[in-house]
Amino acid sequence: MPDRNECATPEAILEVSGLVQSFEQRRGLTDRLTGKPKRVVHAVNGVSFSVKRGEVFSLVGESGCGKSTTARTVVRLLEPKAGSIVFDGENISRHTPSQMMHVRRKMQMIFQDPYASLNPRQRIRDIVMEPMVFHGIVSGRDEAYEKMYRLLDIVGFRPEQADRYPHQFSGGQRQRIGIARALSTNPAFIVADEPVSALDVSIQAQVLNLMMDLRDEFSLSYLFIAHDLSVVRHVTERLGIMYLGFLVEQGTCDRIFGQPMHPYTKALLSAAPTLDRTATAEPLKGDVPSPIHLPPGCPFANRCPQRMEICTTERPEIREWAGRMVACHAIGN
């Protein structure tokens, strides 16, 4: 056993609390001359969650709900506006780029678009070797090659394919190359942002199975970002549902899928098309409000079938109820 103080390894590999992220919209010349105020897109508004060691935690929601922004902020591709990110016992929310270096090695990312995320001018062997050389994980060329061939083998490539370029591979294969690259630094934590949404269903199953096998083999923890609820249900232990930059419900997969409580979670689950059902429930009306002008009350109030007066004036706090965290005025009052 390596001599490691048990207290120093918290149960959670990642703890995010009160995370806030926003972007200023650029104003055109006329707007600036006429003195229009700056417009701010409130992408993530005080999100808290944790990812335990060895688990898959998913953030789910529709486009624009802030799930990808949360993921990108967590790995510090973006500077958080407020809140703390504790990774492996270390608060990284204010780390400088050089301080992030040794953290980056332990947290890697798998991206959505397998066409955009691989350099078209690099051979796949170089794509996979670059991070391990950069982070000094391997001592020399021979070791790098050996490790690269081993990783490519794990994700299902033959050694002679290592010399090819990304365009010679299909979407599913490219996604597997992206996975091999993520694994090359021996990470403990992987953020997967919609890793299978660009893939055909039969290929999607291959990639999901591979990701789950690797979790066992390399004792990985995943933060999984997805919009497809059936995929999330398949891979995840716990999940958080996001809407307009707020976490509206969070809990175990069984609880949330078994008995969703937040009206938005319910709507999302009943809107997802399934093979097992013929009739869809009454679809949700209306659109998501603008993240520039956040509603003063509950973010979901304008579409909510259970809306009460308080919902339009006061923002509900997320709190524990029936074995999960939920932010809704209509629950438990």
Binding site: E62, N209, P273, T274, R277, D287
Partner: protein
Amino acid sequence: MSGPLLEVRNLRTWFELFRGTVKAVDGIDFTLDTGEILGIVGESGGGKSVTGFSILGLIDPPGRIAGGEVLFRGEDLLKKSEDEMRRIRGREISMVFQDPMTSLNPLQTIGRQIDEMLVLHTPLSPAGRRARTLELLDDVGIPTPEDRLDCYPHQFSGGMRQRVVIAIALAATPRLIIADEPTTALDVTVQAQILALMERLVKRSGSALILITHDLAVVSEMTHRVAVMYCGKMVEEAPTRELIARPHHPYTKGLLGSIPRMAGPRVRRLPQISGMVPSLFDLPKGCSFAPRCSFAAGRCFEEIPEMRVVAPGRKVACHSPVGAEEGETKRAR
């Protein structure tokens, strides 16, 4: 008029490219009755979109219709001139595309774009057209249509844009609507709205709908009948519920198996289809699916299976269909 609304016979759409001939659609047959919703499913490269474009005569070089017939109300559309087709498109058969941003003109107001359809395809007066435009927008669920007539597409959300596209497609009350991945670009709650809307409008107007999609769950909820395509060929056709309950083609079975379910026990690993779709330049000699098929035997690698009727309303192109006999005995008992 007797006979089906649309009958496609041995349709072949080939693309003559430098590297060789791509048989994107290679000898498919199907029929569609008035009021029916047919789903065409398959993964990328299956030929489902090209089928839709071929029906409308929208194949440009290097593509060409290499043979077959597209009988619409008894007349072969493939023999029509471009002028005649132009009168059919929009008036008799209209199309809804995947991306509402690219199928709308960004420089014209939506009122004008709907009006254009009405000018071309209806005898209405300007006042009548305006009234009809408002009625259409109201039908597709756009609130306060009077205020929206002079808006441009960018002022609408994705879901609202797709509603406008549907309004345009419905403007001349066509007998057949071809919808190519109409909800793929949309979020689930919006997808549910649009699908419910399309179903309602099709039912009300008595037109027929061909829904082209990769999403079997959507097909399951919307359609009466499904045709499954793989590598340019139709491999199975059946009433929707029967196909989902008892797929006969191994590819259909594999596709259904690789979709994670929203209900029932969670499985550790998803069943997956091994390998990947072969290159259309270099299709295997026998059944295109044989290299990935776990049931494939000698004959499958030699001889292309013909589409044949295995039960009333059920057709499958496979030398050894799965569960066909078993299904029959079950029903007999």
